[in-house]
Symmetry: C2
Subunit: 230 residues, 2 copies
DNA sequence: ATTCAGGTCTTTGGATACAATGAGAGAAAT
DNA sequence: ATTTCTCTCATTGTATCCAAAGACCTGAAT
C-alpha cells in the first residue's frame, strides 16, 4: 500500500500495474503504440479495441485512462481517443525536463551499479556502435539508458523518466529514420564517455555527460520541425 | 486534438478536464483530498463516493483512475483505493524534481509576466509576511508560486509541476502546522528576493533563488521524518 | 493461548442494455 | 457555388445486474 507501483524489471516497457483486464489491455496497447503500429493522431475506437481483445468496452476505457496518464493517448469527452502527438515545442519541453532530471536519476543509480551491469552497458554501447537498423538502434539505446538507471531505487523519478521516454518514442523513431542510425556518430562517443565516467564512479562527470547528451539531441531534433507537421 | 488538456486558469486546483461525470467527481474529490479532509492512507470505497455524488460506481471508478494518474490516489487491483501517502524518501524525490524543473518553468514564464502580475505577486508575498494561519499560508504560498509560473505557455512542464504540488500538498500542510506558518522567516525573505529578480527580469538569479528556496525547504522537511510515520 | 482452516460477506471487476452527445451527410436557401 | 440548417447515425457515457476476488470472522485443533 505504497504510493508507487511495483516495477521489478527496470526494462519493462509496461508497468503491468496489476492483473485487471484494463491494465492488461493497456500494456498491450502501449506496446503497440510504442512499436510504431499506430501513428500519432490515429483515432482509437473503444469498440474496435474491445473486439480485438475480446472484452467489453469498459476495461478498454480503463486502459485508455491509463494510457492517457502515460501521455500516450489523448481523450476528449464525448468525442473519442487519439494517439497523442506532440508539437515541436512540447517535444523540446520534454527534452528539457529529461535534461534536468535524468542526471539526477543517474546520480541515484550510479553507486548501485554492479560490475555485471557496467559490462552489459559496454556491450550495448559496442553493439550500437557496430551499426544496425533503426529499430535495433532504438531498442539498444533505450535499454542502454534505462539500464544505467536501474541502480536507482527511486519511485516517482524513475516513473517520470519512463513516461518521458515513452511519450517521445515515436519522434525518436522518426528522427532516427530520417538521419539514419549512424548519422550521429556523437551518440556513440557520448555513450562511451558516459560509461567511462560510470566506471570511475565519477558522478559529477557522468551527470554532465548525460545532460549534454540529452541537450545535444534536443538541439538536433529541433532542426527538423517537419517531423512534427500536423 | 492536441496532446495537452486546456488549462486557461493557471490557479485552478483541478484540470476540470471535461464535462463527464467521472471528471467532475474527480475534481471535487481532488479538492477534498487537497483540502485535507482525507488523510493519506484513508480508504476510499467506490460505493460511498457514488452515493455521495448521486452517481453509479462507474464514473467513480473513472474518477479514481484520474486521481491515480494525479498521484493522489493509489489503486490496488481487486482490493480498493486509498489516498496516497508518501515516504520521506519519496517526498524528497519530489522536491529534488521540483528543484530542477520549477526554475526551468520560471524561465519560460518570466518574460511574459505583466506588471499587474508582478504587483499581485508582491501583494501575496506581503500578505504572507504579515502572518496568518496555516491554511491561509498554504493557499497564499501556492498561489504565489503558481502565479509566478503563469506566464509560461508550456503544457507538459506546467502539468508536471502542478502534479508535484498536489502530491506533496498534505505534507506541506503537516510541516507548516508543525513548525508554524511564520517559524521559517527565510521563506518570506526568499519570496521578496525572488520578486526582486523577477522585476529586474534577471532570469539567472530568479532561477537560482527558486532552486535554493525549494532546496532549503526539502532539507528542512527531511529533519522531520515523523511527518511520514506510517 | 495461538494458529490455521474454512466459510461468509463485503467490495471490486466486467458485461449487457440504454441514454445522450457529437459528427457527418444531405438538402435547401442565399 | 457556397453556406447553413437539420436529420440521422455512429460513438461515447452511464446505470443496472451479475461474477469473482479478497478480507474478516468464526471455529477447531494443537
Amino acid at each position: 500500500m505504497t504510493a508507487t507501483t511495483d516495477r521489478t524489471d527496470p526494462m519493462a516497457s509496461a508497468p503491468s500495474r496489476d492483473g485487471s483486464a484494463g491494465s492488461r489491455i493497456a500494456t498491450r496497447l502501449r506496446d503497440e503504440i510504442l512499436s510504431g503500429a499506430y501513428a500519432p493522431g490515429t483515432r482509437i475506437r473503444q469498440e474496435d479495441v474491445a473486439e480485438q481483445f475480446g472484452a467489453s468496452r469498459l476495461p478498454v476505457r480503463e486502459a485508455l485512462r491509463i494510457l492517457e496518464s502515460d501521455g500516450l493517448v489523448t481523450l476528449v469527452a464525448n468525442t473519442g481517443a487519439w494517439v497523442s502527438h506532440l508539437s515541436l515545442a512540447e517535444c523540446e519541453e520534454m527534452y528539457q525536463i529529461r535534461e534536468r532530471i535524468e542526471p539526477l536519476l543517474l546520480r541515484y543509480s550510479l553507486p548501485q551499479l554492479s560490475p555485471e551491469t557496467l559490462g552489459r552497458l559496454q556491450e550495448l554501447a559496442d553493439e550500437m556502435q557496430a551499426g544496425t537498423d533503426v529499430e535495433t538502434f532504438l531498442r539498444l539505446d533505450r535499454e542502454f539508458h534505462l539500464l544505467s538507471y536501474s541502480g536507482a531505487v527511486t519511485s516517482i523519478l524513475g516513473e517520470t523518466v519512463h513516461r518521458l521516454w515513452n511519450s517521445t518514442q515515436h519522434y525518436r523513431r522518426a528522427f532516427t529514420t530520417l538521419i539514419g542510425p549512424d548519422a550521429g556518430r556523437a551518440v556513440h562517443y557520448e555513450h562511451q564517455l558516459l560509461i567511462g565516467a560510470l566506471r570511475r564512479g565519477d558522478s559529477e562527470e557522468a551527470e554532465r555527460m548525460l545532460g549534454g547528451h540529452i541537450r545535444r539531441t534536443r538541439l538536433e531534433l529541433s532542426k527538423h520541425p517537419a517531423l512534427f507537421a500536423q
